[in-house]
Symmetry: C2
Subunit: 203 residues, 2 copies
Amino acid sequence: MGAREKRAKYKEEFRREILDAARDLFINEGYERFSMRKLAEKIEYSPTTIYLYFKDKDALLFAICEEVAEQFLANLNHIKTHYSDPLDALRQAMISFMEFGFNNPNQYKVFFFTSPEVYGSQEEFMEKESMARSSYFLFREIVRNCIATGRLREMDTDVLTQVLSVAAHGLIVMTTYRKNFPWADRSVLAHTLVDGLLRGYQK
Amino acid sequence: MGAREKRAKYKEEFRREILDAARDLFINEGYERFSMRKLAEKIEYSPTTIYLYFKDKDALLFAICEEVAEQFLANLNHIKTHYSDPLDALRQAMISFMEFGFNNPNQYKVFFFTSPEVYGSQEEFMEKESMARSSYFLFREIVRNCIATGRLREMDTDVLTQVLSVAAHGLIVMTTYRKNFPWADRSVLAHTLVDGLLRGYQK
DNA sequence: AGGATTAAATTAACAGTGTTAATCTAAAAT
DNA sequence: ATTTTAGATTAACACTGTTAATTTAATCCT
C-alpha cells in the first residue's frame, strides 16, 4: 500500500472517530447541549480540526442522520421480508417506527430537527441517494402493497404514505419532547393511532 | 390617579410594546433568527432593559405562546358553538388547527418549539391556568361530545384527544418545516388525515 | 425646595456558540 | 537536503443569552 492511500485511509479512520465521538456526545448530552467545541474537547483536538473532516456542523449532523436512517432502513427491510400479510407489515412498520423514536430520542431529534438544508432542495432530495430517501421509498412500497392487494382502499400512494408517516412522527415528537404534559401511555397512543388510521383507510 | 399606579400602568404598557415588537420580529424573521439583541435594537433600548420586563427569553416566548393559544382558543370556541353536529365540529376543529399552523408557521413554531419548561412540570401545567391548557380542555370537550352522542365509538377520551392532536401536529410540522421534501398538497393531506382518523374511530 | 430613596436604563463583562484566516509543525516528495 | 504539501493550531470575528455594577432619572419625604 502506497503512502498516499495510507494517508487517505488514516484520514477516513479519523473521520469515523470524530463521527463516533459526535454520536456519543449526542446521545449522552442531547441535541441542545451538543457543540463543536465540546466535541473537540472530547476527541482532544482543537475545534478547527473538525472542519478539516466536515464542512460544518450541519455536514456532521447529516452524517449522523444518515447513520440513524440506515438503522431504520434495515429495520424496515426486516419487516418487509418477515411479514407475509401486507397490512401486518404496515402496522408493524409504523409501530416500530414510533418505538424507534421513543427509544432513541436524541438520534430521532437530530434526524428531524437539524436544518432541512442538509438534505438539499426537494429535487436534490429525490435525486441524490440517501438513507433517508431509501427509507421513504421502502415505506411507500409497503403501503403500495396494501393498496395493490386490496387490504387498503384505492388512493394516492404518496398521499397515504405521507399521512401515515406524519401522524406517527407527530406522536413521537409530542410525547418525547413535550414531557410537561400528562400524556397517556405512549404505547397505548401508538397502537390507538395505528389502529384508527388503518381501520379508516380500509375498504 | 396616583403617581404610583401611573408608573405601574406605564410599565405594563411598555411590557406590551416589547411583546408586540417581539411578535413582529418573530413573524418576520422567524424562530431561529430571533434574538434578544435584535429585539433590543428594534425597540431602541439596550438588551438588558428587556430583562426588567421579562425574566428571560423563555418568559418572553411564553408570553407570545399564550397569545397564540388565545387566538386558537377563540377559534375553537367559535367552532364549538357554530356546529350543531359534534362530528362536524371535531372535523372542523382539526382542519382549522392545521390551517392555523399552515398560515402562521412562526407563531406555531414558537408555540411548539420553545423549551417545554416554560409551561412547568406536568402537574403545574394541569393546575396553572393557561391558554394552552384551556385549548386542550376545549378540544377534549368536542371529542367527548362525539363519543357521548355515539358519533365515535366508546373509548378513553384523553387517548383519543391526544391521538387526534398529535397526528394533526405531525402534519403541520413536517410540511411547514421540512420543505425539502416533495410533499403532496397540504390541504389534501389534511383532509385525508382527518377523514381517515374519524372514519377509523367511528362505530 | 432639597436631600434621600427608589426605580429605570445603561455599560461592561462573562461564558458560551459556529466559523474563518493566518500560522506553525511535521511528514512526504523531489 | 530542500521544497512541497498536508495536518493541526492559535487568534480572531461576529454572534448568542444573561448578570453585576453603575449611572441616570423620577419619586418620596421632611
